[in-house]
Amino acid sequence: MSKIHVTTTINGDPVEYLCDAEETLLDVLRDHLGLTGSKEGCGTGDCGACSVTVDGRLVCSCLMLGAEAAGREIGTIEGMAKGDQLHPLQRKFIEQAALQCGICTPGILVAAKSLLDHNPDPSEEETRYWLAGNLCRCTGYDKIIRAVLDAAKDMREAS
């Protein structure tokens, strides 16, 4: 079976790749493009560790085929920091130790950034609901939620 040729944009850069029809976007990111920040936790859309944005919309990259990405704008965790400059969410996660093993962290950061892009001033409840599809087995979530709310506050004050 011949491979599918896909032209897309990832983190603002034009990207081309060849993939099999059954390969997910997550497979493509990790195995073909070396973008291993997105993690495979469950592979069934339950854990959120593979979260990316597609045309600005938060999705699980394990529930999307690589072939579907043609012509879309994909955003991954690798596009979050600007060079050495960490995103305020990333800085806050480090400062407040909002991670332990780190497997869920890229997905949570992508999802949290998507929340703040939609709503710069979310309540704690809105934040918890928005991130309900991102599972963390270590932290108990509290530090994550605090870090997101504090980063949101910093970003509002800086703007």
Partner: protein, 287 residues
Amino acid sequence: MQYLSPSTIDDAIRLLSSQTGDCKVLAGGTDLLVRMRSGFAEPDSILDIKRIDELRRISRDADGWRIGAAVSGAEMGEHADLVADWPGVVEAVNLIGSTQIQGRATMAGNLCNASPAADSVPAMIAAGAVARIAGPDGLRDIPVADVPTGPGKTCLAPGEFVTSIWLPSRPERSGDAYLRFIPRTEMDIAVVGCAVALTLDAGGTCTAARVSLGAVAPTAILVDAAADTLIGTTVDDAALDALARTCSDAAKPIADKRGTVEFRVHVAGVLAKRATIIAKTRAGGAT
């Protein structure tokens, strides 16, 4: 496996009819890709309908709303006019999965996946929704209630797929609501679901109602007898008690790890009452 992504409904019909092996239609993919990964589906080809522009639209005409089969739950939730007309339907769709799932999952996909516990299906049935189905013989419209025929089974013939869901314009003094019971606060599958859509007259008497239950039978069911307990009343406590009894009687659930038969029968009545109170309030009725 082959990946097909037609840009018109006609091309999709032609491609679907010309497939010799198992061809699965891909909308949001939040059920299909999970089934493929677990080995429950091994299609020879996938037909992605998201490149068909008209299936990505929510449009309004004189009679109602047409929601394309590739419209995501998130897009429905962001459509203020649709939410204003059918808050119960949109809430039911938005209950499906996480933020990430909402970015992909579609109402038409929820219907065609044909889970008895699908959240949007009772809400669509209560709203009087109609599915438009495309196939080799052209288009046909059938009530959403008639699409699922059993767990995982629909009335769609080979080569057919749903292109859109139609909802009528909301009549004056009408409201709808959907509630489900889950043991958690988020991210779970309905143990029981109940949707109610009703219309009041100027004096607050119910003139029309549709009540639908999910997860208590092989498919979501329309309970005509439950609607009859509301019509002609002011939806007072006596009517609500009769409604609850009727819904419990209509519930024919199985017992599984999510709930026992007794629990589901009871909860069907409780949810029917609560959903009706919300729908009545939305219709402008006195509380």
